[in-house]
């Protein structure tokens, strides 16, 4: 508890708010799409749709974590961004290596190319933002 509250920028203001906005957009997009896919054609590509559902959930939790901005919020956001980064890279590679694994597109397929590669950039920006707000900038 050495750092002063005013010197430390909170995760939910300034650039952080923009980040939260983009996370919100992704949460909405991924949730509605995954919800629809799970509800209407789950049998066609269960792995892909379940993955979309998980990704959607993570976007929501990440947005909430960043918005809450407290100690717990930061931890939650950190966990989400890390999982996202690992997820998008892993799924990106897997979807290139074994196309049969994901017969239908997910948010993370081909490193998120269907979404302008934003799914790949977003967790990186999130981690950078968490890092920069970690301590009061000198």
């Amino acid at each position: 508890m050495v750092e002063t509250g005013s010197a430390r920028q909170r995760t939910n203001s300034g650039p952080g708010r923009l980040l939260i906005a983009v996370y919100l957009l992704f949460a909405i997009a991924a949730t509605s799409r995954a919800g629809l896919q799970l509800a209407t054609k789950f049998d066609e590509a269960p792995v892909a749709y379940l993955l979309s559902g998980v990704a959607a959930l993570i976007y929501i939790v990440a947005a909430v974590g960043l918005a809450r901005a407290g100690h717990t919020g930061r931890r939650v956001a950190l966990a989400c961004c890390s999982v996202e980064l690992v997820g998008v890279v892993a799924v990106g590679i897997l979807s290139l290596v074994d196309k049969d694994l994901f017969p239908d597109e997910t948010v993370w397929s081909q490193f998120g190319s269907g979404y302008g590669y934003i799914p790949l950039v977003l967790p990186v920006l999130g981690l950078i933002w968490l890092w920069r707000t970690r301590r009061a900038p000198a």
Binding site: S13, G14, R17, A21, L25, I28, A29, S32, R33, A39
Partner: protein
Amino acid sequence: MVPVTSVGADSPVDGIVATVPIVLSLLVAVWALVAAVRHRPPDRVQFVGLAVLEVALLVLSVLALVAVGGGDRPGEPGAFFGYLVTLVCLPPLAWVLARMEPTRWGSAIVCAVCLVTPVVVVRLQQTWEVLGG
């Protein structure tokens, strides 16, 4: 490219009703981007732009609903209505967030949302025009 059958001609979300919000949205995005680069908080033009954009999107939605009421059906009804609901929520979302963030980042938020909006309009058109197979 194989010429697609003329389903697009019947689409209520095609032509001028879609072009107007797309162009408007891009104009607001550029204006907001300039503001963000110049360290300016969201100004009156951005808020008025968002309001006008919302009106344009509501017109688009009403026309789509009228067409559905008249017996036309989108190719993917679930996705279509999902996109439609999302679409009309975007400008208010940008508005609220921009009000909360009266800094250059507020302008950046307006810019980001206004870049997403045209994409959603295009996706909306695609979900109407989906052809079996």
